[in-house]
């Protein structure tokens, strides 16, 4: 028997599901080529869901529903709230772009995004291997379809194929790993798995064997080296609006399942997975930063930048447990959470600018397309500069505090090896600063290419972009609130570990 409270816990998800179906049907009667009604309905739904999730999160309660299959806790609430907002921004930026490329026909653009968001929600609140996996599949299936939405476009179709094949492989890895753990511990529930492992009754070898596959699956979703191959091709090949849909909000969900699986489920194996993450983090920082230097395509450069940023995020994840001591967990995982949120915030603005500069028949995705942007539009150039400097980790922008918290988590572990990792990360971010600064250089120091086309963008996109850029700066001057929010979210998880 399912109690009423469980239904209340998943209320936002239900709204999302119902409205997704409703909008799919309602769209049949929408005649406007810009799909204004569908668009507005979608935004309203997302807005309502975001507010609901924020309200849940502010309650600060941890609640398990459906026989502990789902969990509602502050971290989940905030991540869901932010992913709904991120999706709203992505749709606002993406609509004119998608319209120019004939992707709005049929309204799938909106409904697929909503179902993808539903998948993210399920991933974020899943407290059970199968629920998490189902959410992941819902998200990725929608993403495959979204990438292939421009079916006449050869590069988009190629990207979709590549994404599908590799994504399916990664899902297979993850599922295989989960089944190994299920076989070893006899449970799908995260807490029970945690306790089973902590009791040391289960054979370590089997657990680590399963763990390897789980980490590989997660690394694929995050885009960490050596499972990063799909990322540049898909980022570049997909229509930019879809690139943002798969590179923005889903990173929050990917972070959430990393935390749910590795921390809530497998923290007793931390010694093993921290080593794997360390190798991947070093690889990601190296490959991401060095390969980004060589790129001429802006989307591809941002893809490699994502890989390097994920390396930093992994550094935060891996510094939680020191010599079996869990004192550092809160600082480490809240640093990673802060990193994920601010990364999504900056990514939104980056792709937002790329889309607003694009026009029918022209993608504006080469770095050279940005030449002299400051003369054409100081506002867009300003937003892009803020994004780049934030990704480079310069104060007073929010990216600096993300890097700072991760470095602090590493150094507070008092381990020489982590100190060395911190110095390595710092040196790599110096390399990163070079290619981020190159974008600033192109926009501010170079002359515009001729002929200069006027930049036309609808008012809603302009306003959202301005707010987005301003937020990167404002959160850079006053980062305290978001940091506390992350710390509180994580501490409520750390408190309930294994219970």
């Amino acid at each position: 028997m399912i109690d009423k409270l469980s239904w209340i816990a998943v209320y936002p998800e239900i709204i999302l599901l119902v409205m997704g179906c409703f909008i799919l049907l309602a769209d049949l009667w929408v005649k406007s080529p810009m799909r204004t009604l569908t668009y507005v309905l979608t935004l309203i739904t997302l807005g309502v869901v975001a507010v609901l999730e924020a309200a849940y999160a502010m309650g600060g309660q941890t609640f398990y529903g459906f026989g502990k299959m789902v969990v509602v806790d502050p971290m989940g609430g905030w991540l869901k709230c932010f992913s709904a907002i991120a999706l709203m921004a992505s749709l606002v930026y993406g609509r004119p772009y998608a319209y120019d490329r004939d992707m709005l026909r049929g309204g799938e653009f909106f409904t697929l995004s909503m179902f993808a968001l539903l998948g993210m929600f399920v991933m974020i609140s899943g407290h059970n291997f199968l629920v998490i996996y189902m959410g992941l599949e819902l998200l990725t299936l929608c993403s495959y379809a979204l990438v292939a939405l421009r079916r006449d476009n050869a590069t988009a179709t190629e990207a979709a194929m590549k994404y599908f094949v590799l994504g399916a492989l990664a899902s297979g890895f993850l599922l295989y790993g989960l089944s190994m753990l299920y076989g070893a511990t006899g449970s799908l529930d995260l807490n029970e798995v945690f306790n089973a492992i902590a009791s040391r009754q289960v054979k370590h070898q089997v657990l680590v064997f399963g763990l390897v596959f789980i980490v590989a699956g997660l690394a694929f979703k995050l885009g960490a080296v050596p499972f990063h191959m799909w990322l540049p091709d898909v980022y570049q090949g997909a229509p930019t609006a879809v690139t943002l849909l798969i590179g923005g909000a889903p990173q929050l969900a990917a972070f959430a399942i990393c935390l749910r699986l590795l921390v809530e489920g497998l923290l007793p194996l931390a010694f093993d997975w921290q080593q794997m993450l360390a190798v991947m983090a070093i690889g990601s920082l190296l490959v991401g930063n060095l390969a980004a230097i060589a790129q001429t395509n802006l989307k591809r450069m941002l893809a490699f930048s994502t890989i390097s940023q994920m390396g930093f995020l992994l550094l935060g994840m891996l510094s939680g447990v020191v010599n079996g001591n869990q004192l550092n967990t809160e600082s480490a995982y809240s640093a990673a959470m802060f990193y994920a949120i601010t990364y999504v915030l900056t990514t939104l603005a980056a792709f937002g600018v790329i889309m607003l500069l694009a026009r029918a028949g022209h993608e504006s995705e080469e770095i050279s397309d940005l030449a002299g942007l400051n003369q054409r539009s100081p506002l867009y150039a300003g937003v892009m500069a803020v994004v780049m400097l934030s990704l480079a980790g310069l104060p007073p922008l929010v990216g600096f505090y993300a890097k700072l918290s991760v470095l602090q988590a590493l150094i507070s572990s008092q381990q020489t090896s982590y100190l060395v990792l911190a110095i390595f990360a710092v040196l790599m971010s110096l390399v990163g600063a070079f290619y981020y600064l190159r974008i600033v250089k192109v926009m501010y120091f170079d002359a515009p290419l001729s002929p200069v086309h006027p930049i036309v963008a609808p008012a809603d996109a302009r306003v959202v972009l301005t707010v987005n850029g301003a937020l990167i700066l404002i959160l850079g001057i006053l980062p305290g609130g978001l940091m506390t929010l992350c710390a509180q979210s994580i501490s409520s998880i750390v408190k309930t570990l294994g219970s």
């Binding site: 600096f400 602090q408 507070s412 710092v426 971010s429 600063a433 250089k441």
Partner: protein, 491 residues
Amino acid sequence: MGLLSLAIWTPIIFGVVLLAIGRDDQARSVRWIALIGAVVSFLVTLPLYDGFKLGTSAMQFVEKGSWIARFNVNYHLGVDGISLWFVLLTAFINVVVIIASWEAITTRVNQYMAAFLILSGLMIGVFTALDGLLFYVFFEATLIPMYLIIGIWGGPNKIYAAFKFFLYTLLGSLLMLVALIFLYNKSGGSFDILTWHKLPLGSTIQTLLFFAFFAAFAVKVPMWPVHTWLPDVHVEAPTGGSAVLAAIMLKLGAYGFLRFSMPIAPDASREWAWLMIALSLTAVIYVGLVALVQQDMKKLVAYSSVAHMGFVTLGFFIFNDLGVSGGIVQMIAHGFVSGAMFLCIGVLYDRVHSREISSYGGVVNTMPKFAAFALFFAMANCGLPATAGFVGEWMVILGAVKFNFWIGFASATVLIFGAAYTLWMYKRVYLGPVVNDDVKNLTDINAREFLMLALLAIATLYMGLYPKPFTDVMNTTVSDLLVHVAKSKLN
């Protein structure tokens, strides 16, 4: 809102307003707003000098409020005898620089003026921050406007210079960031600089911290052999950028030695003083010789800056009152004089568009008023008595002789080399017959240029004739700092 907050945020707010409303077709009003902003920002720093209490080394005008609660970071500001003059100097130079750029900058005037105003606020923030992270945020943030100033309004090779400037200084400061976080953990969760001063630290840790700070500050000063970015950047930067860079930005590094390296790692500072002295003397002597053979006026003054800053770090690391005070006085004096030297080059460059010494000759015949100013600043640059340049150099040399006669002897050669390269440049550019039509067609400085050079000349002369207000402010702080540094912090 306290006076220090006002000093930091007034120029920044003016800058942001200019960015938001300024347009290129209203360049005139943009310039006036910028000038008003700079003057107001300077005026709000004056009460600091007026209200400053002598005879104490405690921080004054302290403001403290929680900024990032999670990491116990505070918005903590204050000035002592070391930092007070740099707040005023920064605001003063900013006024001069905005006057200097009045006609030279015609494109994107609002962004140019905004960059300087914001930069000035950020640099005051560096000098007044008493919280390690706040200091770092200001310290790093100054890179962004300077990068844009060099890259947008710079010379032909500006992009190379802008990147070199940015990446060079970023490398140093990133290592310092690791050191700051390390200190935060070591001190049990505090970014307070004054707490760090009292924190006992082991010998190895002190050495590591000393070199992490060294990486940040030595690049910024810049000390030999990491000075190579400075000539490249000076040559390409616009006049205003060069003036601010030489007058204020280099001081951020030297200030860092006084605020971080020496009090936080006193044992390591004493242990490695020989290295600092050796590098400083190399800068004084070797770079002085390098300056002698430069063909480009800006490069020459840039190398002369390196040599003069070598003098400053030499003064710091001989650990006596005269040396440290002399170093600080030299920093202030160099702020006036090097700023003025770059502005003089800018005056010529605006007219002839060349910085080569060989393009000039006999300028005194066509620009007598300007040549008089240039002679005065050249004299100040070689440390002629009664100019600001003399006081600091004299104090440092006295201090060095007290410390070790031969070091004092070697450092005194700066007077010879300084005179040689400055006066030789003056002779080649200004004296003699008119060499070409460019020089023949020169017009003497107008009222605006006269005003900006006169402001700096008055300051230089005043400081040279009556340095007491400057040294009085710093005496107590410097002697207390030296007492602190003399004590071992080893545990």
